[in-house]
Symmetry: C2
Subunit: 73 residues, 2 copies
């Protein structure tokens, strides 16, 4: 199941002038969660992805994208 998850959270945060803490509070998670997702260390749950996308009013695919690796078609 090795795939890399790219994200553009930082871009959307910047556009909306939100700090990681701001977004974390809005979404209802900890700042660490936003930070680790943003840096690409953790893969968020679908619930978190949907909440972030919903807040920025874009589809999930505009924020998160798969980068194909070796396996998993």
């Amino acid at each position: 199941m090795s795939a890399v998850l790219h994200n553009r959270i930082r871009v959307f945060r910047a556009e909306h002038r939100l700090s990681q803490s701001d977004l974390a509070d809005i979404i209802g998670v900890s700042r660490k969660t936003i930070s680790t997702i943003e840096v690409g260390r953790f893969v968020p749950s679908t619930i978190i992805a949907l909440k972030i996308a919903r807040h920025f009013e874009v589809p999930v695919e505009e924020i998160f994208a798969l980068e194909q690796l070796s396996d998993s078609p």
Copy 2:
């Protein structure tokens, strides 16, 4: 972070005549993973959600939807 994640995987599987095993193989996860997600017992990772949506050629939001509960805006 209590939210319920609705999904329409079964509908898309039916339309595409795929068994849980079929989809599991295509996505690269176990059948149990598809089953538990479909039944709503587990919340899948964003990677799995993207892979499922990509296979059915629809946005994630057409397959997975948040159902608001008490907290978490």
